[in-house]
Amino acid sequence: MPDGSLKLRGRVRAVLGDNIDTDIIYPGRYLNITDREKTAEHLFELVYPEIRAGLQPGDVIVAGRNFGCGSSREQAAAALKFAGAGAVIAASFARIFFRNAINLGLAAVVSPEAAVVGHASACQPAARPAMLAAGDELEIDLVAGEIHDLTQDRIFPSAPLDPRAAELLAAGGLIPYLKRKYIDQRRNPCLDTV
């Protein structure tokens, strides 16, 4: 979100199940890649390589509960962002992934109403499939907490972003945020009080 907009538009690229862990999003074997842009090449590589192949800028990934569980690896969020994903909508997120996403300027949208609920895998159907379907065009208002599915013409609620996260996303992530705070305004962090 380079423009720092808190309203997004995008198409649903894929709908996944619960507990999509960080090894699925970004395999551990590529952890020594430290160029954020290059992480995009390995997004979902082991299990869902097809997702990346057709990913258009602004596309949205939809998943179930506990998206991004597992490791603290920031590459999982970076790979999504630099592959062009505009947002991830999930029933819930693992906390480190959620923070990593916001810090890198990738919208992480919590909406059990719109996402898959229950396991969805080859051997286990979901308790309730996602309301959003691959290919749907969405308009997401992060602050109001609304996902407008233009294709189905339905609106789903999402958790409104808390002000702290909204501030970071609007700035484009933590790095530009801190840069502005300390460099552009020439302040010394050591003199700051809590």
Binding site: D21, N32, N66, E74, L178, Y182
Partner: protein, 429 residues
């Protein structure tokens, strides 16, 4: 207040805090491993020049030690240069430390009441020392290196009270895997967990670390075991500073209290089956599973007591021809002690190979990677698809005793089936 609330209140300058409140807290310790290189890049991008406090940053190489590739060697080199340039005081290079979560407490960096962040999800381990300790990402850590502070949402707390006594061959690993199976991989998401009760208070510090380490696999933000005499005895010789004790208030509010009996609820060892940590079954329900590789190590189970029990199981026996046993002491200190006590000799005599202290194949990047179709029984903490190598390999998580027994049997096995009761115990020297 709960332990989590007390520590966050102190660190953010409030008398009281309550769940859902957002606070900005001062960080007492900021730990990174090789991903310090990512932190370094984000930090340089921000551009403030100097880290906020070089005495509060600890950097430990553990994921790829010694460097397995030119790429890693270059990363190590860049971090070493950064450490020197910034005057970072606590740096554990190859051969000096071991796995970050073992090195921190072993070297006296962790004290009750501290607020610790680490660029590693299993930073929750340090709750075994009464610290509020949690994992963050690399860019967020660059923010900590810049400001020395971080925002937190105060978590609600889940309290788990364990009565009774663990049966023979049942360990802290079985207890926590059992709980993860019950609560699910997201069962403690965003929450703090307090483990307490007589069964916990009898545990060694090493065993308590298994609980707080694996609490991460049910989503916990932080996890604690009690600050008591057993813990203080561990800390006293290691920590120069005065030690404070800390305990939750009697009227602390919990979101949920779970009670269990270690003896009754855990009749036999449990296994987390591929490919998720919450697919937990009693060993006898898993069926016949031939094993190609057995791994004993990691920040979960690579400590002295783990090597001791494994040595006891394999003593005087040979590892099954189809199986290889990889043993990785969690740190240099563990390595030396295990050598002195003869555990390594026993393990190697049985056919094990010893890897240098570090993460080993736990995250699939170093010495001991699995091929397609291979099955591994491992004392580590994750069994995700492709975690330890090929996406077509299978990882079963188990206790050190079960890992050792399985290496002998060549298939998942109960230690009871290997060690007959009448045999003398190796540790009775």
């Amino acid at each position: 207040m709960t332990l989590a609330e007390k520590i966050l209140a102190r660190a953010s300058g409030y008398d009281r805090v309550s769940p859902e409140q957002i606070v900005i807290a001062r960080v007492d310790l900021a730990m990174s491993h090789e991903n310090a290189d990512l932190v370094r890049k984000s930090f340089l991008e921000i551009g403030v020049g100097r880290v906020w406090d070089p005495s509060k940053i600890v950097i430990i190489f553990d994921h790829r030690v010694p460097a397995e590739s030119e790429k890693t060697a270059t990363t190590h080199q860049a971090i070493r240069e950064f450490v020197a340039a910034q005057g970072i005081e606590h740096f554990y290079d190859v051969g000096r430390g071991g796995i970050c979560h073992q090195v921190l407490p072993e070297n006296g960096h962790v004290r009750p009441g501290m607020l610790i962040v680490g660029t590693d999800s299993h930073t929750t381990t340090h709750g075994a020392f009464g610290a509020f300790a949690t994992g963050i990402g690399a860019t967020e850590m660059a923010g900590v290196w810049t400001e020395g502070t971080l925002w937190f949402k105060v978590p609600s707390t889940l309290r788990i009270e364990v009565e009774g006594e663990l049966r023979p061959w049942i360990s802290a690993k079985d207890l926590i895997l059992h709980l993860i199976g019950r609560l699910g991989a997201a069962g403690a998401d965003y929450r703090a967990v307090e483990f307490d009760g007589p069964a916990i208070r009898r545990m060694s510090v090493a065993s308590r670390m298994v609980l707080t380490n694996l609490a991460m696999e049910m989503g916990a933000k932080v996890a604690f075991t009690p600050v008591d005499e057993i813990l203080l005895d561990y800390l006293r010789p290691r920590v120069p500073e005065k030690l404070a004790t800390i305990a939750p208030d009697a009227d602390a509010r919990y979101e949920r209290v779970i009670r269990m009996d270690a003896g009754e609820d855990l009749a036999e060892p449990v296994i987390a089956c591929p490919h998720s940590v919450d697919r937990v079954k009693p060993l006898s329900a898993v069926g016949e599973v031939p094993v190609h590789q057995a791994v004993l190590g990691s920040c979960t189970n690579g400590r002295l007591e783990d090597l001791e029990v494994a040595a006891r199981v394999v003593a005087g026996r040979s590892i099954h021809p189809r199986t290889r046993l990889i043993v990785i002491p969690a740190s240099q200190q563990v390595y030396r002690e295990a050598m002195r006590l003869g555990y390594l000799e026993t393990l190697v005599a049985a056919g094990a190979i010893i890897n240098p202290p570090g993460c080993g194949p736990c995250v699939g990047v170093h010495q001991g990677i699995l091929a397609a179709g291979e099955t591994c029984v491992s004392s580590t903490n994750r069994n995700f698809v492709g975690r330890m190598g090929s996406k077509d390999s299978f990882v079963y998580l188990a206790s050190p005793a079960v890992v050792a027994a399985s290496a002998i049997a060549g298939k998942l096995a109960h230690p009871e089936a290997i060690v007959k009761e009448a045999e003398p115990c190796l540790t009775e020297v």
